[in-house]
Subunit: 237 residues, 2 copies
């Protein structure tokens, strides 16, 4: 936790916040960061500014902070990321990592090679996804929560939603057999990454029909949790 | 497992390999890939060539393959990566991911902010590290096992070993306060990434004294398991 991330409703009079001692963030501040009254830490408001929180008062049941919120969060990536739904055991890490990397628009998509049971994962509940995003933002020091959408049907997504996603944007899907390398332009980008095993020829056809182009990542086949930071690093770092 | 990776001693007459049915790879071939005699799969020899294995014979206790090994593995990255020893629970993923990304020279380093207990991790045993490397290579389709060295003392490493590591190479360490951005040249590179919390001022001084330069990664603070693929993507993809 490099940033104390507060919900707007946790702030009173625009400059004071109080955390119960049982709150996860308060526990971290006391037990890991070992801060004392008088110490400062970085703070941010979900969806808003960042700045400095001064730890003012420690009472038996809470910690009180005074806030100066005068800094903008880092700029968002100009990217919509479409990902074949990852295995449940990697979901937590994938969500935290996309939030940390600055991805603000994520689409979790069903494809032929996504195991149907993955859609039952408790990690897909809105509240859980939101929590994982907050952990990523606290790590990276950012306040803007990614929008995450889930599409459980490939064809209706590609036919009805994708055209709108691609509007005035350049769309690319990762495909080992594509001839084109990684796109060089990092503006107004839509990137689609298949599940393990990739997109089927039918899916490649549908994505192409919708106006997307294939690109390959070189000779190595990387897991989705490695591909995402590699591509973001390649395009946006 | 996208590649059946064999040890040289598992190959007889340069073109035949037999796996016991209890072998992890044989289980994967039968139960996940669901291959049958007559099917082909990608194969590689540790430290050697890649090619095609034809699944020839299934006996009650083993599978036999005939091999054509006429392809080179993907080119290695021209990079020595120095990493502050990661938390044990991320070690497995970090090792698999560096192997998958094509890093061939990894140095695990103690620094002030590495918890001393991390050095007790069973993940640091040579055999375990080797196994995790093989999993990464099987995923990425590569055969060259990374060299992994461990240095438990920062000062002797920097004074006695680092000069040799940096010989005719360009050395950089990640540091949020550095003014320089990510190096643009991906040749003969040495990159050092600190542990959570980064390098101390003393460590920054020692690395600088040894001839390395600091670089920053932008406004976001990323975990080591996210930084590594991001940087490799930025520099080598």
């Amino acid at each position: 936790m490099n940033l104390l991330l507060l919900a707007p409703e946790e702030i009173s009079d625009r400059s004071t916040a109080r955390l119960l001692r049982s709150d996860r963030r308060a526990v971290h501040i006391c037990q890991v960061l070992k801060l004392q009254p008088g110490d400062n830490l970085k703070v941010g408001v979900i969806g808003g500014n960042m700045g400095v929180a001064r730890y003012e008062v420690a009472s038996p049941d809470s910690l009180t902070f005074s806030l100066v919120l005068d800094q903008s969060p880092p700029p968002p990536l100009d990217l919509t990321l479409i990902v074949g739904l990852p295995r449940p055991k990697t979901m937590r890490r994938v969500i935290q990592s996309i939030a940390a990397l600055g991805v603000k628009d994520l689409i979790l998509l069903n494809t032929y090679k996504v195991e149907k049971s993955y859609w039952q994962s408790p990690w897909l509940q809105a509240e859980t996804l939101h929590e994982q995003c907050l952990l990523g933002l606290e790590q990276a020091m950012d306040t803007a929560v990614p929008r995450i959408r889930q599409f459980k049907l490939f064809k209706p997504f590609v036919e009805d939603t994708l055209p709108e996603v691609l509007h005035h944007r350049s769309g690319w899907f990762a495909h080992p057999k594509a001839e084109h390398g990684i796109p060089s332009d990092a503006e107004r980008l839509v990137l689609a990454i298949g599940p393990e095993g990739g997109f089927t020829p039918y899916e490649v056809g549908k994505l192409t029909e919708a106006g997307m182009q294939g690109f390959h990542l070189g000779p190595r086949i990387l897991r989705v949790e490695t591909v995402i930071p590699s591509l973001v690093g390649r395009l946006f770092l």
